[in-house]
Protein backbone atom coordinates (compact mmCIF):
# COMPACT_ATOMS: atom_id res chain seq x y z
CA UNK A 1 0.00 0.00 0.00
CA UNK A 2 2.75 2.41 0.93
CA UNK A 3 4.66 1.35 -2.13
CA UNK A 4 1.70 2.20 -4.33
CA UNK A 5 1.28 5.59 -2.69
CA UNK A 6 4.94 6.36 -3.25
CA UNK A 7 4.67 5.24 -6.86
CA UNK A 8 1.65 7.43 -7.45
CA UNK A 9 3.33 10.39 -5.84
CA UNK A 10 6.35 9.97 -8.05
CA UNK A 11 4.28 9.60 -11.22
CA UNK A 12 2.19 12.64 -10.35
CA UNK A 13 5.29 14.73 -9.81
CA UNK A 14 6.71 13.44 -13.08
CA UNK A 15 3.54 14.31 -15.02
CA UNK A 16 3.57 17.75 -13.44
CA UNK A 17 7.17 18.33 -14.47
CA UNK A 18 6.45 17.17 -18.01
CA UNK A 19 3.61 19.68 -18.20
CA UNK A 20 5.96 22.37 -16.99
CA UNK A 21 8.55 21.45 -19.62
CA UNK A 22 5.89 21.76 -22.30
CA UNK A 23 4.89 25.10 -20.84
CA UNK A 24 8.49 26.30 -21.13
CA UNK A 25 8.80 25.31 -24.79
CA UNK A 26 5.89 26.89 -26.62
CA UNK A 27 5.08 25.28 -29.94
CA UNK A 28 4.02 28.09 -32.19
CA UNK A 29 2.57 26.76 -35.42
CA UNK A 30 -0.06 29.45 -35.65
CA UNK A 31 -3.01 27.36 -34.54
CA UNK A 32 -4.05 26.77 -30.96
CA UNK A 33 -4.09 23.36 -29.33
CA UNK A 34 -1.00 21.86 -30.93
CA UNK A 35 1.06 20.28 -28.20
CA UNK A 36 3.38 17.36 -27.63
CA UNK A 37 1.39 15.87 -24.79
CA UNK A 38 4.40 14.73 -22.79
CA UNK A 39 2.30 14.39 -19.66
CA UNK A 40 0.23 11.79 -21.48
CA UNK A 41 3.29 9.58 -21.41
CA UNK A 42 2.87 9.24 -17.65
CA UNK A 43 -0.88 8.72 -17.98
CA UNK A 44 -0.49 5.86 -20.42
CA UNK A 45 2.24 4.18 -18.40
CA UNK A 46 0.05 4.47 -15.31
CA UNK A 47 -2.90 3.05 -17.25
CA UNK A 48 -0.97 -0.03 -18.27
CA UNK A 49 1.08 -0.59 -15.13
CA UNK A 50 -1.32 0.44 -12.40
CA UNK A 51 -4.85 0.58 -13.76
CA UNK A 52 -7.73 2.79 -14.80
CA UNK A 53 -8.46 4.32 -11.39
CA UNK A 54 -4.87 5.26 -10.82
CA UNK A 55 -4.50 6.77 -14.29
CA UNK A 56 -7.67 8.84 -13.80
CA UNK A 57 -6.58 10.07 -10.40
CA UNK A 58 -3.18 10.91 -11.77
CA UNK A 59 -4.63 12.90 -14.66
CA UNK A 60 -7.04 14.75 -12.44
CA UNK A 61 -4.40 15.80 -9.94
CA UNK A 62 -1.95 16.73 -12.65
CA UNK A 63 -4.45 18.96 -14.48
CA UNK A 64 -5.46 20.64 -11.22
CA UNK A 65 -1.88 21.20 -10.13
CA UNK A 66 -0.84 22.52 -13.52
CA UNK A 67 -3.82 24.83 -13.81
CA UNK A 68 -3.34 26.26 -10.34
CA UNK A 69 0.37 26.90 -10.63
CA UNK A 70 1.82 27.95 -13.95
CA UNK A 71 -1.13 27.23 -16.17
CA UNK A 72 -4.35 29.07 -16.71
CA UNK A 73 -6.99 28.25 -14.04
CA UNK A 74 -9.82 29.20 -16.38
CA UNK A 75 -8.29 27.00 -19.06
CA UNK A 76 -8.51 23.91 -16.89
CA UNK A 77 -11.92 23.15 -18.28
CA UNK A 78 -10.44 22.38 -21.69
CA UNK A 79 -7.75 20.19 -20.19
CA UNK A 80 -10.36 18.29 -18.20
CA UNK A 81 -12.54 17.82 -21.27
CA UNK A 82 -9.63 16.65 -23.39
CA UNK A 83 -8.18 14.51 -20.65
CA UNK A 84 -11.50 12.87 -19.81
CA UNK A 85 -12.36 11.99 -23.41
CA UNK A 86 -8.81 10.85 -24.05
CA UNK A 87 -8.73 8.59 -21.00
CA UNK A 88 -12.14 7.15 -21.79
CA UNK A 89 -11.09 6.23 -25.31
CA UNK A 90 -7.70 4.93 -24.22
CA UNK A 91 -9.26 2.71 -21.55
CA UNK A 92 -11.68 1.28 -24.09
CA UNK A 93 -9.00 0.83 -26.71
CA UNK A 94 -6.77 -0.96 -24.22
CA UNK A 95 -9.62 -3.32 -23.26
CA UNK A 96 -10.32 -4.10 -26.91
CA UNK A 97 -6.75 -5.35 -27.24
CA UNK A 98 -6.72 -4.36 -30.89
CA UNK A 99 -3.86 -1.91 -30.63
CA UNK A 100 -0.51 -1.82 -28.97
CA UNK A 101 0.49 0.90 -26.51
CA UNK A 102 1.45 3.09 -29.46
CA UNK A 103 -1.96 2.82 -31.08
CA UNK A 104 -3.68 3.59 -27.79
CA UNK A 105 -1.48 6.65 -27.42
CA UNK A 106 -2.41 7.84 -30.92
CA UNK A 107 -6.09 7.53 -30.02
CA UNK A 108 -5.38 9.31 -26.75
CA UNK A 109 -3.72 12.22 -28.51
CA UNK A 110 -6.43 12.58 -31.16
CA UNK A 111 -9.30 12.44 -28.69
CA UNK A 112 -7.58 14.77 -26.27
CA UNK A 113 -7.53 17.42 -28.99
CA UNK A 114 -11.10 16.60 -29.97
CA UNK A 115 -12.26 16.97 -26.38
CA UNK A 116 -10.53 20.33 -26.11
CA UNK A 117 -12.05 21.66 -29.33
CA UNK A 118 -15.52 20.52 -28.33
CA UNK A 119 -15.19 22.22 -24.96
CA UNK A 120 -13.88 25.40 -26.58
CA UNK A 121 -16.69 25.40 -29.14
CA UNK A 122 -19.20 25.00 -26.32
CA UNK A 123 -17.70 27.86 -24.30
CA UNK A 124 -17.66 30.42 -27.11
CA UNK A 125 -20.87 28.96 -28.57
CA UNK A 126 -19.32 28.73 -31.99
CA UNK A 127 -18.98 25.47 -33.87
CA UNK A 128 -16.76 26.95 -36.56
CA UNK A 129 -13.80 26.14 -34.32
CA UNK A 130 -14.11 22.63 -35.67
CA UNK A 131 -12.47 24.01 -38.79
CA UNK A 132 -9.22 23.30 -36.98
CA UNK A 133 -10.09 19.70 -36.23
CA UNK A 134 -8.20 18.14 -39.19
CA UNK A 135 -5.01 19.97 -38.31
CA UNK A 136 -5.32 19.04 -34.66
CA UNK A 137 -6.12 15.43 -35.52
CA UNK A 138 -2.93 15.42 -37.56
CA UNK A 139 -0.81 16.88 -34.80
CA UNK A 140 -2.49 14.65 -32.22
CA UNK A 141 -1.67 11.59 -34.30
CA UNK A 142 1.98 12.50 -34.75
CA UNK A 143 2.49 13.47 -31.12
CA UNK A 144 0.52 10.41 -29.99
CA UNK A 145 2.64 8.10 -32.12
CA UNK A 146 5.90 9.54 -30.82
CA UNK A 147 4.79 9.45 -27.19
CA UNK A 148 3.34 6.00 -27.82
CA UNK A 149 6.62 4.55 -29.02
CA UNK A 150 8.29 5.85 -25.87
CA UNK A 151 5.44 4.57 -23.71
CA UNK A 152 5.68 1.12 -25.28
CA UNK A 153 9.31 0.85 -24.27
CA UNK A 154 8.59 2.12 -20.77
CA UNK A 155 5.64 -0.19 -20.18
CA UNK A 156 7.66 -3.20 -21.26
CA UNK A 157 10.54 -2.33 -18.94
CA UNK A 158 8.38 -1.37 -15.98
CA UNK A 159 6.25 -4.49 -16.25
CA UNK A 160 9.38 -6.50 -15.86
CA UNK A 161 10.40 -4.49 -12.82
CA UNK A 162 6.98 -4.91 -11.24
CA UNK A 163 7.18 -8.64 -11.40
CA UNK A 164 10.56 -8.89 -9.73
Amino acid sequence: MAKKAAYMGMLTALAFVFSYIEFLIPVNVGIPGVKLGLANLVTIVALYIMGIREACTLSLIRILLTGLTFGNPAGMIYSFAGGALSLLVMTGARKLKLFSVTGVSVLGGVFHNLGQILAAAAVVENARLLYYLPALVLSGTIAGALIGLLAAVLVRRLEKLNRE
Binding site: G30, P32, S100, G103, A120, V124, R128, L133, T141
Partner: protein
Protein backbone atom coordinates in the same frame (compact mmCIF):
# COMPACT_ATOMS: atom_id res chain seq x y z
CA UNK B 1 3.89 -1.39 -33.21
CA UNK B 2 1.26 -3.85 -34.24
CA UNK B 3 -0.26 -3.95 -37.69
CA UNK B 4 -3.49 -2.49 -36.31
CA UNK B 5 -1.61 0.57 -35.11
CA UNK B 6 -0.37 1.28 -38.60
CA UNK B 7 -3.85 0.81 -40.01
CA UNK B 8 -5.22 3.16 -37.38
CA UNK B 9 -2.70 5.86 -38.17
CA UNK B 10 -3.23 5.53 -41.91
CA UNK B 11 -7.01 5.72 -41.54
CA UNK B 12 -6.82 8.76 -39.26
CA UNK B 13 -4.41 10.53 -41.58
CA UNK B 14 -6.58 9.70 -44.58
CA UNK B 15 -9.64 11.13 -42.82
CA UNK B 16 -7.73 14.23 -41.80
CA UNK B 17 -6.45 14.77 -45.33
CA UNK B 18 -9.92 14.26 -46.76
CA UNK B 19 -11.29 16.85 -44.32
CA UNK B 20 -8.51 19.23 -45.24
CA UNK B 21 -9.40 18.81 -48.88
CA UNK B 22 -13.09 19.27 -48.22
CA UNK B 23 -12.55 22.41 -46.18
CA UNK B 24 -10.18 23.86 -48.75
CA UNK B 25 -12.65 23.29 -51.57
CA UNK B 26 -15.42 24.79 -49.52
CA UNK B 27 -13.58 27.93 -48.56
CA UNK B 28 -11.35 28.46 -51.59
CA UNK B 29 -13.99 29.89 -53.86
CA UNK B 30 -15.52 32.11 -51.29
CA UNK B 31 -13.09 34.70 -50.08
CA UNK B 32 -13.87 37.61 -52.39
CA UNK B 33 -16.26 39.39 -50.08
CA UNK B 34 -15.08 37.94 -46.83
CA UNK B 35 -15.87 39.67 -43.60
CA UNK B 36 -14.36 39.39 -40.18
CA UNK B 37 -17.27 38.89 -37.79
CA UNK B 38 -16.61 39.56 -34.15
CA UNK B 39 -18.45 37.49 -31.55
CA UNK B 40 -18.39 38.07 -27.82
CA UNK B 41 -19.87 35.18 -25.82
CA UNK B 42 -21.44 33.86 -28.99
CA UNK B 43 -23.22 37.15 -29.75
CA UNK B 44 -22.33 39.00 -32.93
CA UNK B 45 -20.82 42.40 -32.25
CA UNK B 46 -19.92 43.64 -35.70
CA UNK B 47 -18.95 42.71 -39.25
CA UNK B 48 -15.91 44.17 -40.92
CA UNK B 49 -15.02 43.63 -44.58
CA UNK B 50 -11.55 42.27 -45.17
CA UNK B 51 -11.12 44.67 -48.05
CA UNK B 52 -10.89 47.67 -45.72
CA UNK B 53 -7.96 48.27 -43.44
CA UNK B 54 -8.98 48.50 -39.85
CA UNK B 55 -7.64 48.64 -36.35
CA UNK B 56 -10.27 47.94 -33.75
CA UNK B 57 -10.14 47.29 -30.04
CA UNK B 58 -12.67 44.67 -29.02
CA UNK B 59 -13.73 45.19 -25.44
CA UNK B 60 -14.32 42.00 -23.50
CA UNK B 61 -15.40 41.58 -19.89
CA UNK B 62 -13.66 43.16 -16.92
CA UNK B 63 -11.62 45.62 -18.94
CA UNK B 64 -10.11 42.91 -21.10
CA UNK B 65 -9.57 43.56 -24.77
CA UNK B 66 -8.37 42.12 -28.06
CA UNK B 67 -6.92 44.34 -30.76
CA UNK B 68 -8.21 43.32 -34.18
CA UNK B 69 -6.33 44.52 -37.23
CA UNK B 70 -7.36 44.03 -40.83
CA UNK B 71 -4.58 44.51 -43.33
CA UNK B 72 -3.89 43.08 -46.81
CA UNK B 73 -7.21 41.30 -46.77
CA UNK B 74 -6.35 39.37 -43.62
CA UNK B 75 -7.60 39.62 -40.07
CA UNK B 76 -5.21 39.33 -37.18
CA UNK B 77 -5.26 39.89 -33.46
CA UNK B 78 -2.13 41.82 -32.65
CA UNK B 79 -2.62 42.56 -28.97
CA UNK B 80 -4.69 41.09 -26.21
CA UNK B 81 -5.11 41.28 -22.47
CA UNK B 82 -5.37 37.52 -22.00
CA UNK B 83 -2.58 35.64 -20.21
CA UNK B 84 -1.77 33.07 -22.88
CA UNK B 85 -1.78 35.22 -26.06
CA UNK B 86 -2.70 32.23 -28.23
CA UNK B 87 -4.92 34.57 -30.22
CA UNK B 88 -2.03 36.95 -30.82
CA UNK B 89 0.36 34.21 -31.91
CA UNK B 90 -2.20 32.81 -34.32
CA UNK B 91 -1.37 33.47 -37.93
CA UNK B 92 -3.61 36.00 -39.75
CA UNK B 93 -6.77 34.51 -41.19
CA UNK B 94 -8.61 35.18 -44.42
CA UNK B 95 -10.30 31.97 -45.58
CA UNK B 96 -13.95 31.26 -45.02
CA UNK B 97 -14.35 29.28 -41.84
CA UNK B 98 -11.06 30.34 -40.32
CA UNK B 99 -11.26 32.04 -36.97
CA UNK B 100 -9.26 33.73 -34.29
CA UNK B 101 -10.30 32.65 -30.85
CA UNK B 102 -9.48 34.11 -27.48
CA UNK B 103 -10.92 31.67 -24.98
CA UNK B 104 -10.18 33.65 -21.80
CA UNK B 105 -11.94 36.72 -23.22
CA UNK B 106 -14.52 34.56 -24.99
CA UNK B 107 -13.93 36.45 -28.21
CA UNK B 108 -14.17 34.85 -31.62
CA UNK B 109 -13.32 36.60 -34.89
CA UNK B 110 -14.63 34.51 -37.74
CA UNK B 111 -14.33 34.89 -41.50
CA UNK B 112 -17.72 34.73 -43.16
CA UNK B 113 -19.32 35.82 -46.36
CA UNK B 114 -20.92 39.22 -46.35
CA UNK B 115 -24.59 39.31 -45.45
CA UNK B 116 -26.63 36.45 -44.12
CA UNK B 117 -26.13 32.97 -45.49
CA UNK B 118 -27.81 32.92 -48.85
CA UNK B 119 -29.79 30.10 -50.30
CA UNK B 120 -27.68 27.80 -52.37
CA UNK B 121 -30.59 26.56 -54.39
CA UNK B 122 -34.34 26.39 -54.28
CA UNK B 123 -36.89 24.11 -55.86
CA UNK B 124 -40.23 25.22 -57.08
Amino acid sequence: MKKNDVILIVVILALALASFGGIYLYSAGNTEDGEAVVYLDGVEQGRYPLSQELSLEIPAENGNYNLLEIKDGKADITEASCPDKICVNHRPVKHLGESLVCLPNRVVVEIENSGEAELDAATR
